[in-house]
Amino acid sequence: MIRMTDIHEAPPEPASIGAEQIEYLEQLARIRLSGEEKERTARDLSKILDYIEMLGELDTEGVDPLSHPVTTEPVFREDKAVNDDRRDAMLRNAPEHKDGCFKVPKTVE
């Protein structure tokens, strides 16, 4: 389900990344940083975000966001099932597979 209200919330806090934010970002990114990496990343990200904040001064009132600058005629693929069964090739790089499936530790929703 998509809700617009999930997206437009309060404007960001002044950029200074603390331990709590790093933890949240680690969770979002599924990456765990070592103690030293954590500190460094917090410091680097704060510095970078400070710099990026500069964009705030740019007057963008009434400017439409541009996602695709080089547009072309709309292109489509025709609805044809052309692919062969390539299951084995697709599984060949898998760290673990079983019965023609990618294998993961037991996961219940």
Binding site: H8, Q21, I22, Y51, I52, L55, P69, A94
Partner: protein, 494 residues
């Protein structure tokens, strides 16, 4: 012909020599392979070298050429390709532990194009991990060294590609450019390179860093080689719906390009604080060459350039964090041996499989996309992008080409940039602009600093203006000799 003489030829010269029977493709390939053997131990430009495989391919191509079945302009000439471009059945690592053992079951569209054109691949080139870096130091397979001075970086992320061409370990190469990844290493290594108009070259099989910015392009010893190399890979691809129709560059027209009537704009903002005075001097001198060749040169202001870096890093990191979320240790790539639960597989595989710079950019991307921040960062960056587009549209009413420095300095020493990522990001200040809005851009050598390190001149043109850009670059290279110098001949005058 001696290996050394072969190695000193341009790609187009090698192709002509093969066609005329003076040399064979296997001979040219052997020459390149022995150069790699000799130099790459130190330079580390290649992640993988195809020895026998390359020779076998060269022999096959040679037969086809002799049969008259292959008459592409670069048929039989050995080239190398950045290791973020997928090659079926051959490991494609992206410079990462994450993909150390990944063997794609498909090839990139450009790889198919090159096979058709009779190109001979000698290997896969080193790069910053997932192209995230401006120095080629973040590779899991070790840093690449600059052939002009092995204590310095070759630039990045296509550092292996630029170094291989500069060191005569390949006749031409393909890299990819997301924010300067072709042009900046070209500048640091004294070679030529093109980042084409977004959509000219298929991205199918190019392992994504930032999809709206990534573009594959050629690196060569001169611009004519680059143009010939670019012609081999352009065109609309049904597998990449962002590709556009593109006209090949007319090489003979480019060789006869005249500077008369060419309108050149030089943004004064590109010479603001932070630029190395020697770089500024070399670039201004190069611009002057154009006015002597009959072009009109005008200074103008491009104030939006100030916002290039923040705009670029928001867009690039946001897209990167999404593009790199597929590396989860389930379908392919690194899986941590210690992982017990599903959550472990994600977290441990990603934490152990990615290097620090990649993690940093993923974190930054997650930050700008996270709930509540979208408007302030990503949407703002897309608005800034719209304003950048507008500024260039206006500039290109007055100018056919925009010239300036490729990078604010020459190649820094190894290790200098890693300690200060923001400083490294800022070194992309001139090159990111064309990527943000998809414009074509090139870098050609235009001088040397007091340490004898090369300086690059950046050209930016309107959409699909590669013909003009290549023409102007060829004109410059017909009038100067910076591009003819290479590491072994250091000290001789250009």
């Amino acid at each position: 012909m001696k290996d050394e003489n072969i190695l000193n030829m341009t790609a187009l010269e090698v192709a002509r020599a093969i066609r005329s029977g003076d040399i064979t493709s296997p001979q040219a390939t052997e020459a390149v392979l022995s150069a790699i053997e000799e130099k790459d131990g130190e330079l580390n430009g290649y992640i993988r070298v195809f020895g026998d495989r390359a020779i076998a391919r060269a022999s096959e191509v040679q037969k086809q050429i002799e049969r008259g079945a292959l008459d592409y302009p670069l048929a039989g000439v050995p080239y190398a390709i950045k290791d973020n471009i997928c090659t079926e059945g051959i490991p494609t690592t992206c410079g990462s532990k994450m993909l150390e053992n990944f063997i794609p079951p498909y090839s990139a569209t450009v790889v198919h194009d090159l096979e058709r054109a009779g190109a001979v691949s000698v290997g896969k080139l080193n790069l910053d991990e997932f192209c995230m870096g401006s120095t080629s130091e973040t590779s899991f397979f070790g840093p690449v060294k600059n052939p002009w001075d092995t204590t310095r970086v070759p630039g990045g992320s296509s550092g292996g590609a630029a170094a291989s061409v500069a060191a005569r370990m390949s006749f031409y190469a393909y890299g990819s450019d997301t924010g300067g990844s072709i042009r900046q290493p070209c500048s640091y290594c004294g070679v030529s390179g093109i980042k084409p108009t977004y959509g000219s070259v298929s991205r199918f099989g190019l392992i994504a860093y930032a999809s709206s910015l990534d573009q594959i392009g050629p690196i060569g010893r001169d611009m004519l080689d680059c143009a010939a190399a670019l012609n081999q890979i352009i065109g609309k691809d049904p597998a990449d719906q962002t590709t556009i129709d593109t006209v090949p560059i007319d090489l003979s027209a480019a060789s006869e390009f005249s500077g008369k009537g060419l309108r050149i704009g030089v943004p004064e903002d590109f010479f603001a604080e932070g630029i190395d005075p020697e770089v500024e001097a070399a670039v201004r001198k190069a611009v002057h060459v154009f006015s002597e060749l009959g072009a009109s040169v005008t200074s103008f202001r491009l104030p939006i350039a100030r916002y290039a870096i923040p705009t670029y890093y928001i867009i690039a990191c946001a897209e990167a964090c999404s593009n790199l979320s597929r590396y989860d240790g389930i379908k392919y790539g690194y899986r941590s041996q210690n992982a017990k639960s599903l959550s472990d597989i994600y977290v441990m595989s990603r934490s152990e499989g990615f290097g620090l710079e990649v993690k940093r950019r993923i974190m930054l991307g997650n930050y700008v996309l996270s709930s509540g921040f979208y408007d302030a960062y990503y949407k703002k960056a897309l608005q800034s992008k719209a304003l950048i587009r507008k500024a260039f549209d206006e500039a290109f009413v007055k100018y056919d080409l925009i010239l300036g420095p490729t990078a604010p300095s020459t190649a820094p020493r190894i290790g200098e940039s890693l300690s200060d990522p923001l400083r490294m990001y800022l070194s992309d200040v001139y090159t990111v602009l064309p990527n943000i809005v998809g414009l074509p851009s090139a870098s050609i050598p235009c001088g040397f600093d007091r340490n004898n390190m090369p300086v690059g001149l950046q050209m930016i043109g309107p959409y699909r203006s590669e013909q003009t850009m290549v023409g102007a670059a060829c004109l410059f290279q017909r009038s100067t000799a910076y591009h003819l110098r290479f590491p072994e001949k250091r000290g001789e005058d250009a």
